[in-house]
Amino acid sequence: MKLAQIAGFLGSGKTTLLIDVARELVQRGHRIAIIVNDVGEINVDAKFIESYGLKAREISGGCICCQIAGSFANTIAVLHNTFKPDIIIVEPSGVAIPWGLKRAAEYSEEETDVIIEHAPVITLVDSTRIDLLMDAVRRLVETQIREADVVLINKVDAATDEQIEKSRTMIKKINPTAEILLVSGRNQVGLKEVADIIETRVSPRYDEAVEKELLRKQYGSQ
């Protein structure tokens, strides 16, 4: 069973993209489940996603990469046993660490007969608010970009060329190996490419050494 993370700061367009990608994958014959997570007790996204006829599970009250990793693993196991999706798309909270989330997902292998495969970690960047975001929440945005395999510069239909170029330069500086795609959730630009990435490609499984290195690069040795 494949697990796909769509990360990104609040307001970056995760839910909109997730719904469209999920519908595209359903059309391609996949059985898709969605897990949305928020650190607070309320998450309105699951209700919204279900209003599109998609299978959604909400995990609230903590971050699924650490605080409530057990609930996340259990939810994956239950979905596997009952709904039997071949792909689970996860919209993590704005503070989740992608590598931590991989580890938490793999815990589900201890709960049921499932092998987790990871799609490339996708991070969305809101190109229309790039200056605001880098002023206000730089560290968080940088972390989400650093741990991504693919970074989507979103809302390109509404952004200026300068904003798009600034986003691209920033992403390359933070994560030189990340693949960069320009997308527009509103106009469904790049939608099929994102679905292809989730459908056909894989990302490494959790590796403690890699996570330690990523964390130390940013927060260790200071």
Binding site: L10, G40, E41, F48
Partner: protein, 154 residues
């Protein structure tokens, strides 16, 4: 605490610089909501909440979202960028309804949970008065938000 756990916690604390508030509410319009008036209400609600939060020192919206559930369908509203305005997605069918449940979720940068709560409550009151509605807060999630340990700066 293990060194790696400390790094992990440090990362979360550094990342989580956002004030949050959430509430589940029951609203009643004795005149009856139409799909149009429900959209106007949700637009007004999110706009007023954003304004009050900015007035109190917020400098960036994480997101302000509200989901309305009624007997005739649902209405999702989202505000990220005031320049872009409130985005609405509706499945409301034609016809009137008097009662609905609204779940509101506010995350902003620049002020902490208690200020977000106060500003949001003011925004809600404003809109309720403006549209002459009755409102009951079914559940207020301030205490829960506040109690999540890794939201707390030490």
């Amino acid at each position: 605490m293990e060194e790696d756990d400390e790094l992990h916690l440090e990362m979360h604390r550094a990342a989580d610089e956002l004030g949050k508030y959430a509430a589940k509410m029951h609203i009643n319009d004795s005149k009856g909501f139409t799909p149009h008036s429900a959209k106007r209400f949700m637009d007004g609600l999110l706009t007023a909440v954003a304004e009050e939060n900015f007035n109190d020192g917020a400098d960036l919206i994480g997101h302000i979202k509200a989901f309305l559930t009624s007997p005739t369908g649902t209405l999702m509203s989202s505000l990220v960028d005031p320049k872009v305005g409130v985005q609405l997605t509706s499945t409301l069918e034609a016809g009137r309804f008097e009662e609905a449940e609204v779940t509101l979720h506010v995350i902003v940068h620049g002020i902490w949970d208690d200020k977000v709560r106060d500003a949001t409550r003011r925004g809600i009151k404003k809109v309720i008065r403006k549209y002459d509605l009755e409102l009951e807060v079914l559940k207020d999630h301030f205490d829960t938000e506040k109690s999540i340990e890794h939201h707390l700066k030490k």
